[in-house]
């Protein structure tokens, strides 16, 4: 849950909110895996004496709101401590976990005032109900990708599947930000041949040249066309793996570098130039020949 700064009917310490003159509220989250558990180290602190006093007297608390949408997990860690460790079994979480930190009133605060209220609020007092916000800190998003990361090799960002439509004769590529891999659909007969041949390592460079390189070119062309909206792909596993592989070639997948990217060249470099190897193999030579 992203807790935004908005217009409140009473003063709240938040970035961009000027209802307090000098008060700040900072928060941060670290995490580490601990066997089958995920350990969150939750930090929060304010320099406002009035709020600190409320926390000390348990009239307010630091609240770390932890949410994992994918597993419907939502929990509030309520504490008076500036640093709190919260441990949770990993089976409760998967994917993105959002942690928002705030300060919340633990009881109705009648006639609340603070010496650091900005000029607009100076001299006023407020009735704040239990459960209401007093300060808004950071919202941290942590990606806990528990799925086996089998996408280290460039070719494994693709999934080659049969196209069961008997009337289909062409291979097509499905580049979709909602799928973990790029799907190459081959008419069923061709797919069976591919699956048989691809187990033969000697033929791999030919398979890569015929199937993977054109698909990779299409992927780069698609990314070039979508370079202003790359955020659409940011959560997607194949895009993360491709970005990592490109980094090894010193190619950044961002708006500027995609504009002038040579798709065909980059695709060949990423796959370690399979076409030259394939031609050499077909000419009866060995891959190792120079």
């Amino acid at each position: 849950m992203l807790i935004r700064n908005k217009y409140f009917p009473y003063p709240v310490i938040a970035k961009g909110n000027e209802s307090y003159a000098t008060a700040t509220f900072t928060s941060d989250v670290d995490f580490e895996k601990n066997g089958y558990h995920v350990k969150f180290i939750l930090k929060a602190s304010t320099d406002n004496e009035g709020i600190k006093e409320l926390i000390k007297s348990k009239k307010a608390s630091y609240v770390h709101h932890i949410e994992c949408v994918q597993t419907c997990y939502r929990h509030a860690v309520i504490t008076e401590e500036e640093e709190e460790v919260f441990q949770i079994h990993q089976s409760k979480l998967n994917g993105a976990v959002q942690i928002s930190t705030v300060i919340v009133a633990n009881e109705d605060l009648i006639g609340y005032k603070n010496s650091d209220f900005s000029a607009d609020y100076k001299g006023f007092s407020f009735n704040i109900k239990r459960g209401c916000l007093l300060a808004i800190g950071a919202c941290v998003e942590i990606e806990l990708n528990k799925q086996k990361d089998d996408l280290e090799n460039t070719s494994s960002i693709f999934s080659i599947v049969p196209n069961l439509d008997p009337n289909e004769t062409i291979i097509n590529v499905d580049i979709n930000s909602t799928k973990p891999k790029i799907v190459i659909r081959i008419p069923v007969k061709g797919c069976n041949i591919y699956k048989n041949l691809s187990t033969n390592l000697e033929l791999q460079s030919i398979m890569h040249s015929m199937i993977i390189i054109p698909a990779l070119v299409q992927v780069f062309d698609e990314l070039k066309a979508s370079r202003f909206e790359l955020y659409n792909f940011s959560d997607c596993r194949w895009f993360k793996a491709l970005t990592k592989a490109c980094k090894n070639l010193k190619v950044e997948l961002n708006e500027q570098s995609l504009e002038n990217l040579d798709s065909y060249r980059t695709a060949q470099l990423l796959m370690d130039s399979p076409t030259m190897k394939a031609l050499t193999y077909l000419a009866g030579g060995s891959d190792d020949e120079d």
């Binding site: 609240v63 419907c72 409760k92 979480l93 998967n94 239990r130 459960g131 069976n192």
Partner: protein, 241 residues
């Protein structure tokens, strides 16, 4: 029995071939999924053991079996972790294989583009969403059970029976942000149920209004810091019973 799952490759292949799967597996039943995909290992056994169960398909009106099927799925598969229960591969093995007859009974598609999201997870365009958990034909049975099962009640499925009266209740009370906190969702549904017992007529308009009201409260309070009784009281006051 061991819970089955479809391989990741198999899942991508199946999603990419929904029109053919619709025709051959769902509509005609001329082949099962592994045969159609020419891959006997596409559906595999997981390490998760559960007691064998079947789906209730006894009613003329399939929606009338929802509560009973939630009971069966959730009672037998309560041991799944939240992470496992959010894994599409488990549920697609049900919708297209073990639970295919149930899916044909409850969610028979009309054409090759229909009800994709009942057989698979239709993922959000950006980021994560819990919507697929409440749309997939079998996953929804588990997740509705998970959110509404209340062991403290004489009938632990009392809240389930309430939300299953109308798909719109499920959308507005479960497939929504605040519902991920069981204290909040149970307080809200519990208050609606008690309002009815006190003579208030419950209908879609009221349920939607209450859902909106809870969202509104979420903009003012950190609801997760409030107790069941506090949230219940706010809903009670709003409905006026």
């Amino acid at each position: 029995m061991r819970i089955k799952f479809i391989t990741e490759e198999g899942l991508l292949a199946a999603k990419s071939n929904y029109p053919t799967i619709f025709k051959e597996v769902i509509k005609k039943k001329s082949a099962d999924l592994p045969t159609l995909m020419n891959d006997n290992s596409i559906i595999r056994d997981s390490s998760i053991e559960v007691e064998e169960f079947s789906f209730d398909m006894s009613q003329d009106r399939p929606t009338a079996t929802d509560v009973e099927n939630i009971r069966r799925v959730y009672n037998h598969m309560k041991g799944l972790s939240e992470s496992q229960a959010s894994d599409e591969r488990i549920w697609v093995a049900f919708t297209l294989h073990q639970g295919l007859d149930y899916m044909r009974y409850r969610w028979m598609p009309e054409n090759e583009g229909d009800k994709f999201d009942r057989f698979f997870f239709k993922n959000a365009k950006h980021g994560y969403s819990k919507r697929p958990l409440f749309r997939n034909g079998v996953a929804r049975l588990w997740w509705i059970g998970y959110h509404t099962y209340d062991a403290k009640r004489a009938n632990p499925y009392e809240l389930t029976e309430f939300v299953c009266r109308d798909q719109d209740y499920i959308n507005n009370l479960l497939d929504i942000g605040f519902a991920s906190n069981a204290t909040i969702s149970k307080a809200v549904i519990g208050a609606l149920l008690d309002a009815e017992k006190n003579g208030v007529t419950i209908n879609r308009d009221l349920v939607r209004a209450i859902s909106q009201y809870v969202n509104l409260l979420g903009g003012i309070y950190i609801l997760d810091c409030l107790s069941y009784d506090e949230i219940y009281s706010k809903i009670k006051e709003k409905i006026g019973f």
